[in-house]
């Protein structure tokens, strides 16, 4: 045993001696010095020392904490060199440094063996230690950008592509950092990437990206894997079922830029879009999407029989002028803007939520330009009792609320990570986070009355003083936009106005794009960037050109929201059938078919009311909602309706639309069966069912009307036959129609927008 120890020590000494000799030789040979920021930290990132699962997590690991992914080299340097009584770095004997002993597995390491003693990375670390572990200096070069070779490519299935990464340093130096960079695929089911940057596609088609990070900079490789290996090689057996060929589409789609970008994408992916949906499907779809309302049987019939070539355009225009358009999109924005009714008591909160909801509804109905809409909210001041946008500041009232709500709602950025550390997959630092927070540091509140949870009827104003301190650096932050320099502000200027100007500038890369993407996601069921409020270079748009074109048109229209909706609803993608063909069944990114989705809770409840012609009675407080009030018109979430909660009404706790869930749940099925509200509507004395029971019309006529009313189509012959036979078999006419309608209203065709 003693001999072995002695031998090991001897070997260690020899190794260290060799290392020192090599180091000395290297230095003497004029090798460039090893810099902490650009040489050491990337190795720690590459081998995973500072990952979120190891020493990079908030609490560190076993007493050793590094900044997440090495975004804070100064902090990391102190951890490595100054802490742990200097055991982590021993310049006199680099090989005795825990920094080398642990990852190389020569002493027990919970993270396992990450570094070979003879590897290049080991030698670089060792040389840095031997040089005296120099600290990062202000004049050290920084990595300014990364380039990838190739940056994007169309790959076939089970194909391979080696990425080459070049780092550009601030001193003009360029480096091949392929072996030092970190890689991550955003769609591992489509393509994988290994530690060396080798991308391997699998057996699924689609779009993917590979995030590449090095030295605090991030870049991404964008890959396309066509669904068929030879685009356009298939033949169409039945154009009615499979849709026109791409070549046919190219001739017929006209000059729409949006359609051209869609078509180009489909070409790249080698898929053929589904055929356009039937007229009945389209009017149901677009009426639900614009007005949150079912079309009436008469509207469906009129549209089906309309032979004018521009009937779709006319329909969209008509719907945008309907009174339901305002409240339906106000519901969406009330979610995003967290118009919450919970708190002291409904009677105290309701006035504020009703005012704010009303203001949003008016803004949308009157087509207030989106830049104005956002600016009014951001800069809102005065009494919440008199200036409704100021009610936004009731739910949004802390530093984190301000930053995260603004970033997510209007800039499409999830910046939460940067509250505690540099964003791991984006460029956002804590300075960005707290610089944006400083914009709101002088938001003052006075007056109003409060309980423990939510004060209300406050006056929002610009305080004389107020500051935000960046917690890591201890610096007082000046107001600044995301990624930008500080605002140039006078003594009495409101930083929020500067933020609003920056945000709504046509050059702003986030603002218009986020709205364009949000609305595309509303109508197409998925954003071009998905999720819609998580824009990152590592989460690229599925069709960059399409999003850019949509954004440019939105900006050119001076942020005209109705214009944006017209663009989207008139796009070829929006009119497609949900039925897939042999080429696009797996497509979930490129809008080659309509992605079906369940109706939102409020729309669904209203649809029940509309079909059965029995409005819902909503509990009020302090007053009573008038008869005929619709669920999409409710000002806040604090109206106790079990149906709405079961079907995913959000609690409005954040600006994320993801709070509204449309996932299926057992409770929903039970609600459809057991809901007292649905029962009440089915049993009502004055509803549609009673009208059917009393109208003495032949069943066949009634069944046709019922199908138009519920599904916006006529019944298929077998459906008609079954329905009529059933109705004739049931002696109680009202009960018969009750049963028929109940069964139809529980179908997916009714519950979903297809």
């Amino acid at each position: 045993m003693n001999r072995k120890v002695t031998t090991d020590r001897f070997r260690t000494l020899i190794v260290s001696g060799l290392v020192m000799l090599c180091t000395a030789a290297a230095v003497s040979a004029g090798q460039p010095p090893v810099r902490f920021g650009t040489d050491v930290v990337p190795i720690l990132t590459k081998i995973g020392c500072n990952s979120g699962g190891c020493h990079g997590k908030a609490t560190g690991q076993n007493g050793f904490k590094l900044s997440l992914l090495g975004f804070e080299p100064e902090f990391d340097y102190i951890s490595l060199v100054k802490e742990a009584r200097g055991r982590r770095v021993v310049p006199g004997a680099p090989q005795r440094s825990l920094m080398l002993l642990k990852p190389s597995g020569r002493v027990p390491h919970g993270g396992g063996r990450l570094l070979d003693a003879g590897s290049e990375n080991y030698r670089v670390l060792s040389r840095w230690i031997a040089d005296g572990a120099p600290s990062p200096r202000r004049q050290d070069p920084l990595v300014e950008k990364l380039t990838l070779e190739p940056a994007q490519r169309v790959l076939s299935k089970t194909d391979r592509q080696q990425l080459r990464v070049t780092a550009y340093l601030s001193n003009g130096e360029t480096r091949d950092v392929t072996s030092h960079a970190v890689y991550e695929s955003n769609e591992p089911e489509i393509a994988e990437v290994d530690r060396s940057g080798l991308v391997t596609t699998l057996t699924r088609g689609g779009l993917f990206s590979v995030m590449v990070s090095y030295g605090g900079q991030i870049s991404a490789f964008y890959g396309t894997v066509p669904f068929r290996s030879k685009p356009g090689s298939f033949q169409k057996p039945d154009p009615l079922k499979t849709g026109p060929t791409l070549a046919e589409l190219e001739k017929t789609l006209g000059q729409s830029k949006l359609d051209k970008h869609l078509l180009a994408q489909w070409k790249r992916l080698g898929i053929r879009p589904s055929p356009p949906a039937a007229a009945g499907k389209f009017i149901r779809r677009v009426t639900l999407d614009i007005c949150g309302t079912l079309p009436t049987a008469e509207e469906v019939e009129a549209y089906r029989n309309d032979q004018r070539p521009d009937k779709r355009i006319r329909l969209i225009d008509r719907l945008l002028d309907r009174p339901e358009y305002g409240p339906y999109f106000a519901l969406k924005w009330a979610d995003i803007l967290q118009n919450r009714g919970r708190g002291y008591s409904t009677s105290k909160q309701r006035a504020g939520t009703a005012l704010f909801f009303g203001w949003i509804r008016d803004a949308i109905s009157q087509n207030m330009p989106y830049d104005r809409f956002a600016s009014e909210i951001l800069t809102a001041s005065g009494s919440q009792n008199e200036n409704p946008p100021a009610v936004w500041y009731r739910s949004v009232r802390t530093t984190t609320d301000y930053v995260e709500s603004i970033a997510q709602a209007f800039l499409g950025v999830r910046i939460q990570c940067a509250q505690c550390h540099h964003h791991p997959t984006e460029r956002w630092s804590q300075d960005d986070y707290y610089g944006l927070a400083a914009v709101f540091a002088r938001v003052g509140r006075k007056g109003g009355f409060a309980d423990a949870e939510v004060p209300t009827e406050e006056i929002i104003y610009l305080k004389h003083e107020g500051q935000i301190v960046q917690p890591r650096s201890g610096r007082v932050m000046q107001p600044r936009p995301l990624g930008g320099p500080n605002f140039d502000l006078g003594l009495y200027d409101d930083p929020r106005r500067a933020l609003a100007r920056w945000m709504t500038s046509p050059e702003n890369p986030f603002f218009a794009r986020t709205m364009a993407n949000r609305m595309w996601g509303h109508f197409l069921g998925r954003g071009i960037i998905h999720p819609i409020d998580d824009a990152r270079s590592t989460n690229p748009p599925s069709n960059l050109e399409l999003l850019q074109a949509l954004t440019q048109k939105f900006v050119a229209s001076q942020y005209n929201i109705k214009h944006l909706i017209r663009l989207i609803c008139n796009s070829y993608a929006y009119r497609l059938s949900v039925v897939s063909n042999e080429t696009n069944g797996e497509d979930v990114q490129s809008f080659s078919r309509f992605y079906l989705r369940r109706l939102p809770a409020e729309v669904l409840l209203d649809a029940f009311s509309q079909v059965l012609e029995v409005p819902t009675s909503f509990p009020g407080g302090p007053g009573v909602f008038p008869a005929g009030t619709r669920a999409i018109e409710l000002p806040d979430e604090n109206v106790p309706v079990h149906f709405l909660d079961v079907f995913g009404r959000p609690a409005r706790d954040s600006a994320c639309e993801c709070e509204r869930v449309d996932d299926p749940a057992l409770a929903q099925a039970l609600e459809l069966v057991n809901s007292s509200e649905i029962q009440r509507k089915l049993m009502a004395k004055k509803g549609y069912i009673q009208r059917l029971a009393d109208n003495n019309k032949p069943h066949i006529e009634n069944v046709r009307e019922i199908f138009l009313k519920t599904f916006a189509r006529l019944p298929r012959p077998p459906e008609l036959k079954t329905a009529v036979e059933y109705l004739e078999s049931e002696p109680d006419r009202a009960e018969a129609y009750r049963t028929l309608l109940w069964s139809l209203l529980a179908t997916n065709e009714f519950l979903f927008n297809i």
């Binding site: 009014e376 001041s381 409704p388 009020g620 909602f625």
Partner: protein, 831 residues
């Protein structure tokens, strides 16, 4: 120290006692609704009232004395408004058996009036009405929506305005306007306040629908409203917002449909508007000058000659408590629907220049002056420059919220570079009456001492500027040297809602008068009543130095005739050779169910004389001059109309500064005399003060009926506080108990002040005499400040705490007793 610490708990008892006051009052008539809440001048119509304790209501009283009422039924009246009555808001009260009720607003208009019908809802059909009408309606039930249809022609400019909050209604009104196709054209949820207004430029001939409902779909009898659908002249605000007293001034009126001679030209920019040329409500103004429109407002310039002095009382306008400091008068454009408040200044008025938006372009003003300006863009800053001398004391007072402007003003004083802020003034939090009459507001006010001779910059801006240009963001900025001023308001002492001011024959009632001191005013203010009705006494009372309120006591003799009217009160303050006199204005709580602090000013301070008081209480102070830190004893006599019912009377004091402590006492059953002793703080400012005693007892009411709990109030007791020559205090370690037949030694101090070196002779005393104990007096001579009193309890001394026991000291000058001082002694006799 001794007194303050040990008697602190008694102060708490007082708070609890007053908090229950409303339960024990004599009937308090409260007028909840008046319907219709207004009428047209030159008309006669029926009106219904409702409320609580309105029994015996025989008439109505209005602050506009020209309006006449005739009772038709128990709660129905015929109202006649003479044609010459000026439009505006007045107070209406019910005259009942229990006196004058709390007020409700009553609007006198000059348009046709209509009542809502039962079918005016979207389900049953809307009510068809003409243009230029005021509709009186009510949201009767929760969830109700009232709807009205009118026909208008293309180019007409129709103003649709609801009056609800401004006429004491609980309705938070929402207005919506629809066209014939059911398309919602406009909505308003509030305009320059909570009440909504829609300006409607009629796009096409046709009929239009107005819907009206509560924001939270509430409803009930107190959700009444007046809805104007009008094409006549309406003034919204003026520029300048203030003019100098007695000086004829050119004023720009902002509003709509302002003057007939301008119609064609104004129409060119606002669409063609076929206004009938013979419309009597559209004035033809001589000397008026048409100006170009600004925003959605039309403008005309008129010449106005204001009153020579402040006439801010009795205005036919809605005024909130915080507006008590606003001097102004009611101006009404001929033909306009209502008057507007135009400020009145006693110093020169200047208007802001259009280009004074930076330090470099600051507008020079001379002190004193009042600036009238506009902050048209949301982030506009108006800069002014002044020259001032070192040591000058300047007061800045801005008016924004208080003149109905949508601003939250902030005023700063900076050095000549405009970079260094020397002083900053924000919201004025002066609120002596609390939620009963909340006078705090967003307008800044403050004092600044000029540090050096030189030039200084002043900037005024709004902290809540919006993104749109709005010419109605007007302000007044008053800059003047320190010259003290004050305003006064009389409000009911009721804690729990509205009340009238009534005094019963043979009894007394209390009105609390609050002082709103400004520009360094700290001295005593004397409150005096003028032109009292027969049989009513109202002795002068004083709001002491540094004190913000005083009880004003009205006493009705047994033979006082019935009366329903108003009380004329003035406040007088002397500061050196200058005497300032201010009228006392009225204030009222607006009732339960409204947010805390729902109150407004009233046109007058009301007074009703009715009924017969079952009990009367009279207080007599022990002396008229008291040194700081001493004790004043107040003897109380109770006389009852029903001598067979002699219930105990619990006594508390009212009207003293917070630093004054006292013991609550009880006049036992069967007795009618008692005492309350007040310990004054040693730091109480010298000056004249007024206190009173309140009592709680039971008495048959009315006479012969079952006994009920009553609150009484005594006559006021006024006294002068003078600087103390010495301060008495008991050693904090002195014994607090003495056994019968034994003695204790009580160490005490007589700390000399203000150079007093005379003898101080101390004895033990109590109101009504000391019983069961005795002490030999001690005399301090020379510089002695500490002594010991030997207190002996007799064998038959009454057991228990000795109420209001005190040390009493007499200071002599040349062997003549000149000064007197007291301090409480806490002592209990035990077996």
């Amino acid at each position: 120290m001794y007194s303050a610490v040990r008697l602190g708990s008694f102060g708490l008892l007082v708070v609890l006692g007053v908090g229950t006051a409303a339960r024990g009052e004599l009937p308090n008539p409260v007028l909840n609704t008046v319907f219709p809440p207004g009428g047209r001048s030159g008309s006669t119509f029926e009106l219904t009232v409702s409320g609580s304790a309105l029994q015996g209501c025989t008439s109505l009283w209005c602050s506009c004395s020209e309006i006449r009422f005739e009772q038709l039924d128990k709660d129905r009246f015929s109202v006649t408004i003479p044609a010459e009555t000026s439009p505006g808001l007045y107070d209406l009260r019910a005259v009942c058996a229990a006196g004058l009720s709390s007020p409700r607003s009553f609007f006198v208009g000059n348009r046709d009036e209509q009542l809502e019908t039962d079918e005016n809802n979207p389900v049953d059909g809307s009510q068809l009405i003409g243009l230029d009408v005021s509709i009186n309606g009510r949201i009767d039930k929760k969830g109700d929506i009232d709807s009205y249809r009118f026909v208008a022609q293309r180019g007409q400019r129709v103003v649709i305005e609801c009056w609800a909050e401004r006429i004491d209604s609980r309705l938070r009104c929402i207005l919506e306007l629809y066209d014939e196709r059911g398309r919602r054209l406009k909505v308003s949820r509030g305009y320059r306040g909570l009440d909504p207004l829609i300006l409607f430029e009629v796009p096409a001939d046709g009929s239009y629908l107005v819907k009206l409902f509560d924001l939270t779909y509430s409803g009930g009898s107190s959700y009444f409203y007046r809805l104007d659908i009008d094409t006549g002249p309406r003034v919204v605000f003026t520029v300048p917002a203030v003019i100098e007293q007695g000086q004829t001034s050119r004023v720009t009126l902002y509003g709509w449909n302002l003057a007939r001679q301008d119609q064609a030209q104004l129409g060119a920019s606002a669409g063609s508007r076929p206004i009938p040329s013979d419309d009597p409500d559209v004035p033809v103004l001589s000397g008026a000058r048409r100006l170009l429109p600004e925003g959605t407002f039309e403008r005309i310039e008129v010449e106005i000659t204001p009153p020579a002095a402040n006439s801010s009382t009795d205005l036919p306008l809605r005024l909130r408590p915080e507006q008590i400091g606003v001097d102004g008068f009611a101006y009404r454009l001929p033909g306009a629907h209502a008057p507007v408040l135009l400020g009145l200044a006693d110093i020169p008025v200047v208007q802001d220049h259009a280009e004074n938006h930076s330090p470099a372009s600051a507008q020079t003003i001379r002190i004193p002056c009042e600036v009238s300006g506009q902050l048209i863009s949301g982030d506009e800053q108006d800069w002014f420059a002044i020259d001032a001398k070192r040591g000058e004391v300047l007061w800045f007072q801005a008016f924004g919220q208080r003149i109905g402007s949508p601003v939250d003003l902030d005023v700063s004083v900076l050095d000549p570079t405009g970079l260094k802020e020397l002083a900053r003034f924000s919201d004025e939090l002066l609120n002596p009456a609390g939620t009963r009459f909340p006078s705090n507001h967003l307008d800044p006010a403050g004092r600044w001492v000029v540090p050096l001779d030189g030039r200084y910059l002043i900037v005024i801006r709004s902290l809540i500027g919006g993104l749109t240009n709005d010419p109605s963001r007007v302000y007044r900025l008053n800059v003047r040297r320190e010259d003290s001023d004050f305003q006064l308001a009389a409000i009911s002492p009721h804690q729990n809602g509205p009340a009238g001011f009534n005094v019963w024959r043979g009894g007394r009632t209390m009105v609390e008068v609050f002082a709103f001191r400004r520009r360094g005013q700290t001295g005593s203010i004397r409150i005096a009543a003028e032109d009292l009705p027969p049989g009513i006494e109202c002795p002068d009372v004083w709001i002491g130095p540094g004190v913000n309120s005083t009880p004003l006591i009205l006493t009705a003799r047994n033979n006082a005739p019935p009366f329903a009217g108003s009380l004329k009160l003035v406040g007088i303050s002397a500061n050196g050779l200058t005497t300032t006199t201010r009228r006392v204005r009225g204030g009222t709580d607006l009732g339960s169910g409204l947010p805390n602090g729902a109150a407004r000013m009233t046109a007058t301070v009301p007074l009703g004389v009715a009924g017969e008081a079952p009990v009367r209480m009279t207080a007599t102070g022990s002396e008229s001059k008291v040194p700081q830190g001493s004790v004043i004893n107040v003897a109380v006599d109770v006389s009852r109309r029903d001598l067979g019912h002699n219930a105990p009377v619990n006594l508390i004091g009212v009207g003293f500064p917070e630093s004054v402590r006292y013991q609550t006492t009880v006049i036992p059953a069967g007795q009618n005399k008692g005492y309350v002793s007040f310990a004054l703080s040693s730091t109480l400012s010298p000056g004249r003060y007024t206190i009173a005693v309140r009592g709680q007892t039971t008495a048959p009411f009315p006479v012969g009926a079952q006994a009920t709990t009553l609150w009484l109030v005594s006559n006021p007791v006024s006294f002068d506080v003078y600087p103390a020559p010495f301060l008495l205090s008991v050693d904090r370690n002195a014994p607090r108990k003495v056994k019968r037949g034994e003695f204790i030694r009580l160490d005490y101090y007589g700390k000399r002040k203000n150079g007093f070196i005379g003898k101080i002779h101390t004895v033990l005393g109590a109101p009504g005499g000391v019983v069961g104990i005795r002490a030999r007096g001690v005399t301090f001579v020379g510089q002695t400040e500490k002594g010991t009193l030997q207190i002996i309890a007799s064998d038959d001394a009454p057991l228990g705490r000795l109420p209001s026991l005190y040390l009493e000291a007499v200071g002599t000058v040349e062997d003549e007793s000149i000064y007197q001082a007291r301090c409480f002694v806490e002592l209990e006799v035990v077996p």
